[in-house]
Symmetry: C2
Subunit: 258 residues, 2 copies
């Protein structure tokens, strides 16, 4: 018999949608959680979007979601900084999501290398000057935080550089490794459990990407449900070093176990 989970942590890309299309049964699955009054949050390594952006995208795909149910790496980064360093002066490389999350948390965003913390998230407007300022600040002792270590981002053109690749410029230049916040790190999972109001052993992490979603669950002591609708194909299941707690080919299979 399957354990009765009291809440769900749900990945987005490859689990809820692929590009602009909903994954089959994603909507049915989330509606079923809602009907059964099982709390859920979405957990994403995307630092560029705000909670509002993501909730709106989900709603358009008929997946019920409120902004407060979206746990982004930006949000987790802003909380992590407060918890560990208090209100900080941050030099930020990144897009709207990370800027907004830091400001809403009360941090100060500075345009100079004179800062407490360097934060890097995906930035499609990256420049050499931004990388130079960040490198100088880190070498001068600023805390170095990266929203997520994803090496590549799938896109209709192919695999484009992810934030983990951009982060490498600063870590190689300075010899300092950042603290990564996003999946598979435990930091974002701790934040997601906090928003959900549950303990690790009461929740289930649902995702398609073994290296990020499932590893995040494993490392945070959260049971995992792997779906084969995204990055990691079922063919690789046998070779996975530590298996997910459960797997399904699609979320319809899980509906009957709710």
């Amino acid at each position: 018999m399957t354990k009765a989970y009291q809440g769900y942590l749900i990945d987005l890309d490859g689990t809820m949608y692929q590009g602009d299309e909903a994954i089959p049964f994603a909507s049915d699955f989330v509606k079923a959680l809602q009907e059964k009054q099982l709390p859920y949050v979405f957990v994403t390594n995307n630092s560029s979007k705000t909670q509002q952006d993501v909730a709106m995208k989900l709603k358009k795909l008929d997946i019920p979601a409120e902004p407060k149910q979206i746990v982004t790496t930006s949000l987790a980064t802003a909380s992590y900084i407060t918890e560990n360093y208090g209100q900080s002066r941050c030099y930020v490389i990144g897009e709207e999501g990370i800027h907004k999350a830091l400001q809403e948390e009360g941090h100060t965003i500075t345009e100079t290398e004179n800062c407490d913390v360097v934060v890097i998230g995906i930035d499609r407007n990256i420049t050499y000057e931004k990388l130079a300022k960040a490198s100088i600040a880190v070498r001068n002792g600023a805390t170095f935080i990266s929203t997520n270590g994803d090496k590549a981002i799938p896109n209709e053109r192919g695999l484009l550089p992810g934030n983990g690749s951009l982060t490498a410029v600063i870590s190689i230049c300075t010899g300092v490794d950042p603290v990564f916040i996003g999946k598979p790190e435990a930091v974002i999972m701790k934040e997601a459990l906090h928003v959900l109001g549950l303990k690790a052993d009461e929740a289930l992490m649902v995702g398609d990407n073994y290296a990020t979603d499932i590893q995040a669950g494993i490392q945070a002591g959260i049971d995992t449900l792997m779906v084969f609708t995204g990055v990691t194909p079922f063919l690789e299941y046998e070779q996975l070093p530590v298996k997910p707690t459960h797997y399904v080919h699609n979320l319809k299979e899980w509906l009957e176990k709710l």
Copy 2:
């Protein structure tokens, strides 16, 4: 007694000049080579400048130099591509030096990811789109070449990201390691010996940086003269795993051995 070398390979930064200032005795040293009719070339990992730019800078510092005596990583990169792949369509991230060297060697520079070779050199106008195109091309099978692996560039502001750090974006995104051309790789040294018209055991490599200049000599089977006027301090000499063939505190000490 010191071996009589028939020609010299000479590093620039930290050996001939520091920023815009000549290193003491650099001019005397090069003039002495000229008087004794000992051939010499300068070997630099800087891919942004042309041979003309570098020769002019040296002349201003009273160091005799002609453009054809400047062996840049850009030049070595252009030759390496011809030798190994013939005339190629190159997608280039970099500044003037690398663009000019590739064009003068007869390669075609393309603005699209549809190319044979991706070349990356330092580019202070780097953009996400350039990194994306390069990553897509490498993943599609283009040969991946980086002019040099220097992690950082010293500057009056501090240590700024070097080409090795920028190159990491593409290698981490694609999982493909580039061929590096500059010091300490043997590729640029082979090119420099070719320009000098000497064999490895006839020449002496002079430089201040153990990790690049001296390692380049060691790996190419060229005797080395280390000078303590730049990056590597004399304090580190005892710890060096493989010692340079000779060392001097400054080039005046070497003048009497010429």
